[in-house]
């Protein structure tokens, strides 16, 4: 993870992709969102979705998992090069989360996150606020999820 000062608006990362299988869609939904169109193929076929589809929270949670794995790889690469690693997190929340299309069984979602704003934190002088827009796009090129989140990230320490 780079320091706040080294991050630019427009910086973007492809963070990974995931194919949603029926069993995991149902497993997540049975625990957290057991609406018929997320847990039962026959009921989903009768619903306005027309087929079993993932809970929107599942689509978002998979972004989080891929982001954690992506960040870990980036940090390991920085350490291997002998570079300092900036501390970051946690997120303060998110906004403008849109579930634009259903994620159906077998869909492969490619996730991407892009820096949309950077600004200094007034309450934490050692940190900056990093705002990113994250998206998921299916195999047909359709956007299925989009949201904007803000995270604290360490500023480059002053040289003494």
């Amino acid at each position: 993870m780079r320091y706040f000062e080294d991050i630019r608006v427009g910086d973007a990362d492809d963070i990974g992709q995931h194919t949603f299988a029926a069993e995991e869609i149902k497993s997540f939904a049975q625990r957290f969102d057991p609406q018929p169109f997320h847990v039962d193929e026959a009921a989903a076929a009768r619903s306005h979705f027309g087929a079993l589809c993932a809970s929107g929270w599942h689509t978002a949670a998979v972004w989080m998992r891929l982001m954690v794995d992506h960040s870990r790889r980036a940090i390991e690469a920085q350490r291997a090069r002998g570079e300092p690693v900036a501390a970051f997190g946690p997120a303060l929340g998110f906004r403008d989360l849109k579930w634009l299309k259903p994620v159906y069984v077998g869909d492969t979602i490619a996730y991407r996150s892009e820096v949309v704003e950077t600004r200094a934190s007034t309450s934490r002088p050692g940190s900056g606020l990093l705002t990113i827009r994250s998206t998921g796009t299916n195999q047909n090129g359709d956007l299925v999820i989009s949201f904007v989140s803000t995270t604290l990230i360490e500023r480059r320490p002053e040289k003494t």
Partner: protein
Amino acid sequence: MTVESEAMPKYHWEDFKPGAVAVYGPRLVTREEIIAFASEFDPQPMHLDEAAASTTILGGLGASGWHTCSLLMRMICDGFILDSTSMGSPGIEEVRWLKPLRPGTTIRVRTTVLDTRASGSRPEMGLTKFMMEVLDDGDAIIASLTTTLLFRRRKPGAKP
């Protein structure tokens, strides 16, 4: 003739009136489920391990914010969604994670109807905007979100 085997849900779009407040739960959140969710979707130290979490900004083990949201979803499913004409949700306007969700906390969800309107394009559907808050044992707000849910109408196309 069609056979409708499913019972008529109790709640339609017409049943959500601006200003209406409801509370759902309680639900005890265990250490085991916090770690299980984080292991699957958000494997960061602050969500996985007490010792590692104690040195992070959370100051101790706390649930992933996505877990908090997923628990909220489950509690409103059990509270009213599963007995409603829910058609899902186009998204979340904003989520704020205000306070860590610690192991052993008993949470409740408080919903407030902010606004309700008929769909302009789909006469069978209405939109209801809610504020939803996750509360801890002492009524402190752990997370707060605003979201719009879609419901089938009892009387499609009728003036609300």
